[in-house]
């Protein structure tokens, strides 16, 4: 490897003007706007599911959905903050309580359903569609989000990708309730949980390759 002095010379010669990043909160807001737009378009195409307003009378459903929304917003904010070196790594804590509430409500739904319906809840309805739908929103939004935070490679790659994965999964799963008539069988909920896990795992693995293109490690 060349000497440090030579490296400094090379970098200094390469010091083209750069455009400063906007504040992380603003960039998070921009991404959330794109996410809302995409979910809105899909809801428009698929049609809002019937009985959505009534479903909110069920407190478990209402809490779960509001928590999903809160998770999406806070996790996106955390991902953008974590990607910048001078921000605190404690941002990762922010979405966790909401995520716990969101996933907890889903888990409680599984158990309640199991008790009410027994093994018949294990039939596969249109669960596979849900899985695909969650992935379909997550992949384009995830690509956009990871590209927007690609400078996180030499900073906090794992924490950033984790927060990004949570945001994506929450948008995907939360958005789904608008247009899919989920009959809340155990299988449906399990599939949702599995999709959330897959999205977070994809964000973690996909970010590695992407972050390496910014600064080789």
């Amino acid at each position: 490897m060349a000497s440090t002095g030579e490296l400094i010379d090379r970098l200094a010669r390469d010091a083209r003007p750069v455009r400063r990043l906007r504040r992380p909160a603003l960039r998070a807001l921009a991404w959330l706007a794109v996410a809302a737009l995409l979910v809105g378009i899909i809801a428009r195409l698929e049609g809002i599911r019937p009985g959505l307003a009534q479903a909110f009378d069920d407190p478990r459903f209402a809490i779960g959905r509001v928590a999903a929304l809160a998770t999406a917003i806070t996790a996106a904010l955390a991902a953008f903050e974590l990607s910048v070196p001078d921000r605190s790594s404690r941002w990762l804590w922010l979405p966790l309580p909401f995520a716990a509430l969101w996933l907890g409500a889903m888990g409680a739904g599984c158990i309640a359903d199991w008790l009410a319906e027994g093994p018949s809840g294990l039939r596969i309805g249109h669960s596979a569609d849900c899985f695909v739908a969650i992935l379909m929103t997550s992949v384009p939004l995830g690509a956009l989000l990871l590209v927007m935070v690609r400078h996180a490679g030499p900073v906090r790659p794992v924490a950033t990708a984790l927060a990004a994965g949570l945001a994506l999964a929450a948008v995907g799963e939360g958005g789904l309730t608008l247009y899919h008539d989920v009959d809340a069988t155990v299988m449906d909920l399990l599939i949702h949980l599995a999709a959330v896990a897959v999205v977070v795992a994809l964000a973690l693995s996909g970010s590695r390759a992407l972050f390496r293109t910014v600064v080789p490690r």
Partner: protein, 199 residues
């Protein structure tokens, strides 16, 4: 503007941070002289951070270069309205840790060869064991090496004895990497033939 920086609280203020921040702001605008000054001035500070994680001078210097490359790649993420110290310190800490992790992983895979790792009863089969037999073996090898054609001998010396990389050896000799590989391969083959002929 003063903001609480919990991660780096208690870190001694080692730099005229505001000067560095101003230099970085100018560097973001394309001011090469300011950028060179900044990188030169932060290097001793980076070395001191790297030295907290690494003992070998080589690792310290490689870490400093990792940090400089990272600073360069993401210099657009610095916000001149905020202090420069924490921005730089986070990158330095992370890159030093990255290298430390890589070193630990390597250490986990590689083990120093000890006498108890000998696999055969015959001393000669286990290479240089450090004793008189090892010396004998080495002398025999040196004689065999002396009989190699100069090109093959040079390739072996650079790549196997001095343990240069192909790139470094190519720079030192002016030979292409392929030529070096071929020479090494032939040298090992000749050596094997010479040594076997002797036994």
């Amino acid at each position: 503007m003063v903001r609480a920086m919990p991660e780096h609280a208690g870190r001694p203020e080692t730099s005229p941070g505001s000067t560095w921040g101003a230099l970085m702001a100018r560097a973001q605008g394309g001011d090469q002289a300011a950028y060179r000054r900044l990188l030169t001035e932060i290097t001793p500070y980076l070395r001191s951070i790297a030295a907290r994680y690494h003992r070998s001078r080589e690792d310290v210097e490689d870490t400093v270069q990792d940090v400089l490359l990272s600073v360069h790649a993401i210099r657009h993420t610095y916000d001149p309205a905020r202090p420069f110290g924490p921005w730089l310190a986070t990158i330095a800490d992370r890159r030093a840790l990255d290298r430390l992790r890589r070193r630990l992983r390597q250490a986990g895979r590689e083990t120093t060869l000890e006498p108890e790792h000998e696999t055969f009863a015959a001393v000669a089969a286990n290479g240089d064991t450090g004793g008189a037999d090892g010396g004998l073996e080495a002398a025999e090898l040196a004689r065999a090496m002396a009989r190699l054609p100069p090109g093959q001998r040079q390739a072996l010396e650079l790549l196997k004895l001095k343990e240069l990389s192909l790139k470094e050896a190519s720079a030192a000799t002016g030979l292409s990497i392929t030529a070096l590989k071929v020479a090494t391969h032939r040298a090992l083959k000749s050596l094997r033939a010479i040594m076997q002929g002797r036994r």
